[in-house]
């Protein structure tokens, strides 16, 4: 009942015509949950969805993905832009597939640890860690989360974080690992890592890091990046622009330039 009072103040109740039936329903309110709020939403997040913007098709938007999970698994980019726009912060991409287990191991201990995903950026992180003289940790399962749309099994996430807690600073080499583990992306700590970049031109902000735009831009500028245009609209999984600088390691697969190609120490 305390929860009901939290949800509905007495001032608010003055506006409601109370009937005995409604009183009973209020009593059961804490036990009645809306599991899938997207079913009732007009699409507050919809202008952030790259597949919707490119197709104009509601099926290829959070409204469609919330209803048809088979299609979501295949077509949704799992960019988490909709989650960042949702007033409820509803984690739609986590509803498509079963929870994924992650595991993390320390390859090389250190005060400062780079964290890579086995499938996404291991090679790159190994090279970077050696060059910078930092520690290295490798996580398994993160790529699967962003390919299929899964939550992380809580126990395994907790364990991974415990393993990392020994380091003074753990930074992710990819936006995916940063987002999954809740640790900072390398691009935010360029100065701490002694990384310098020399680049002038358009840059792309990773979807998963959109909420950290300002911090990221400041760090990049401090490291020597002079952006002439900032693209926050496109998702790398849908479209690639050849003359842009990308922050996502997976951009390398498409043969475009990433900050990792420009790093000088």
């Amino acid at each position: 009942m305390a929860r009901v009072i939290l949800l509905v103040s007495l001032t608010m109740l003055r506006a409601v015509k109370i009937t005995p039936k409604l009183v009973v329903r209020f009593a059961f309110l804490p036990f009645r949950k809306v599991r899938n709020p997207c079913l009732y939403c007009p699409g507050i997040c919809i202008a952030s969805c790259p597949t919707y913007l490119s197709s104009g098709n509601i099926l290829l938007s959070p409204i469609g993905y919330a209803r048809f999970h088979d299609i979501a698994r295949e077509k949704c980019l799992k960019c988490w832009r909709c989650v960042q726009e949702c007033p409820l912060g509803y984690n739609l991409p986590e509803t498509y597939s079963k929870p994924v287990k992650i595991s993390l191991r320390i390859v090389r201990p250190g005060r400062l640890i780079l964290v890579a995903d086995e499938e996404i950026d291991l090679q790159l992180a190994e090279h970077l860690s050696e060059s910078l003289g930092t520690g290295l940790a490798v996580v398994k399962g993160v790529a699967e989360r962003y390919n299929n749309g899964s939550p992380i099994e809580y126990k395994t996430l907790k364990k991974a974080k415990r393993v990392l807690s020994g380091a003074e600073l753990a930074v992710a080499c990819s936006p995916e690992v940063s987002h999954a583990l809740g640790i900072d992306f390398l691009g935010i700590h360029l100065k701490d890592l002694g990384i310098k970049l020399n680049y002038e031109g358009p840059i792309h902000i990773p979807c998963l890091l959109k909420s950290q735009r300002e911090k990221l831009l400041k760090s990049l500028e401090d490291a020597g990046v002079r952006p002439t245009f900032v693209d926050e609209e496109e998702c790398i999984k849908l479209s690639i622009k050849e003359n842009y600088l990308y922050l996502c390691p997976i951009a390398k697969k498409h043969g475009v330039r990433t900050i990792f190609d420009l790093i000088s120490y």
Partner: protein, 465 residues
């Protein structure tokens, strides 16, 4: 029957030849396009009821493609309905057996002129994307309805939408300079050959497309007036002794020319629900390019408000409103749906002389309807002649209650000389009451429809058909 099926199949094949993969007849797509955001349709869907499905959905890339599609549909006499953001709340795009022409791939900015303060856009552009484009260049359309995150320009024009800043900037009809459209026979109605601020070269045919709800063809491009972003803003909230005294104050403000961009008078119930403060609250935003004009307006407003018994209230109410103004989902998830209730909004407008009685009677009579639990009200969209009152209703999630509530609401509205729709439009919801408001005019409008659309194909089952 067999011939009808064959002709539909042939039509779909011809459309596929034009559009390639930009046509869909998949069950999932048809289900999603079977409704807009009409609360009754959403309720039926939530209760597992099947809604009438369209025949197919197409996504043209250009005006010329829209014209080709419509010519094919004329050949086979298949009805069609234009579709934009899907954020309408009256069932205006619901059209069983129709071809849905979704215009959202036509979303380019054709021309932006800072000097002339106009922008030319394809009608499928998302309002939010257009506003972001303009803001990044120091301009604004300042058309900000609650559906801002999902609405599309063509749909806003077809609905005759208005926005939260309309008191200063006007409704969409004040922002549209010109329209390009494809007529129901597939002919292209072009822009004028010159774009001008105003012209007296006969009646403006394009004006009948504003509010036409897809019944007179497909809007494909729009020229819009834009404004430089304001440099100076003043936000304030006041509490009034009554809703009526708030209205009187706003009447004086409007007639004095101290026009705010945003003015909203929340009645005690609405204030209680939104701000947890059960007083009649006025929230105001005044914004100008020139500081002197802003100061003059503030001084006039402060004097008028005091004369009508307004006292300062918490300014953070304005910020709270600004922060939550597009959020239609939080309350639904937290309270309305779990309580097995449903929601509706009824917007009307009337002259100053009619507003107090309209407000009182609506609140009383509609609240008395069995199954209705709450009737919140705020006045917004002010004019020199009157205002819009926007009622938000919560009721038992049943179709029977829904229509009972609407019958009573319309009875009160018409009795008090108000309109059945200020800015949501007619659609399926209000069709049966249009003649009560417009009288014989409806028949003349129907003649216009028949002349432009002799086969009655353009959104055919609506009120003009």
């Amino acid at each position: 029957m067999g011939r009808e099926c064959a002709s539909k199949r042939e039509a779909l094949e011809e459309l596929s030849d034009i559009l390639g993969d930009r046509i869909s007849t998949s069950n999932e797509v048809l289900k999603l396009y079977s409704r807009d955001y009409w609360p009754l349709a959403l309720m039926k869907e939530a209760h597992g009821e099947e809604l009438p499905r369209p025949l197919a959905v197409v996504w043209p890339n250009s005006t010329e493609e829209v014209a080709k599609i419509i010519k094919v549909l004329n050949k086979y006499r298949i009805p069609f309905v234009p579709y934009a953001g899907g954020s309408g709340v009256t069932g205006g795009t619901m059209c069983g057996g129709c071809i849905v022409i979704d215009i959202k791939k036509m979303n380019r900015i054709v021309n932006f002129s800072e000097e002339d303060a106009i922008i030319v856009v394809e009608a499928g552009i998302l309002l939010r994307k257009l506003e972001e484009f303009l803001n990044s260049r120091g301009f604004t359309l300042r058309h900000i309805p609650q559906s801002y995150p999902e609405a599309v320009i063509g749909g806003l024009v077809a609905t005759m939408s208005t926005g939260q800043f309309s008191t200063k900037y006007g409704g969409i009809e004040d922002l549209v300079l010109d329209i390009e459209a494809v007529a129901p026979d597939g002919g292209i109605i072009p822009f004028r050959r010159n774009t001008v601020p105003r012209a007296a070269t006969g009646p403006d045919l394009k004006r009948i497309l504003i509010g036409s709800e897809g019944q007179l063809g497909v809007i494909t491009k729009v020229i819009l007036r834009i404004f430089p972003l304001p440099k100076y803003t003043w936000k304030m909230a006041y509490a009034f002794p009554s809703f009526a005294s708030g209205l009187k104050a706003m009447r004086e403000v409007m007639l004095a020319g101290a026009t705010p961009a945003v003015a909203r008078i929340y009645d005690k119930d609405d204030s209680a629900a939104r701000f947890h403060d059960a007083r009649d609250l006025l929230i105001l935003i005044v914004e100008e390019i020139d500081e002197g004009i802003l100061e003059a307006k503030i001084s006039a407003i402060e004097a008028i408000v005091k004369r009508h018994g307004g006292v300062d209230a918490e300014e953070e109410y304005v910020d709270k409103w600004l922060k939550t103004r597009f959020d239609v989902i939080s309350e639904l998830k937290k309270l309305v749906i779990p309580l097995n209730l449903w929601f509706e909004t009824i917007e009307t407008s009337a002259l100053w002389s009619k507003l107090p009685n309209l407000y009182e009677e609506f609140k009383k009579k509609v609240r008395e309807v069995e199954g209705v639990h709450a009737v919140l009200a705020h006045a917004s969209h002010f004019y020199t002649t009157g205002a819009c009152i926007y009622f938000t209703l919560t009721y038992e999630a049943s179709e029977e209650v829904y229509w009972r509530m609407w019958e009573k609401a319309v009875e009160v509205i018409l009795k008090n000389g108000a309109t059945i729709s200020h800015h949501h439009g007619i659609g399926l919801l209000r069709a049966k009451w249009t003649k009560e408001e417009l009288g014989e005019t409806v028949n003349y409008l129907r003649r216009v429809k028949r002349s432009l659309d002799p086969e009655n194909l353009s959104n055919s089952d609506k009120w003009l058909g």
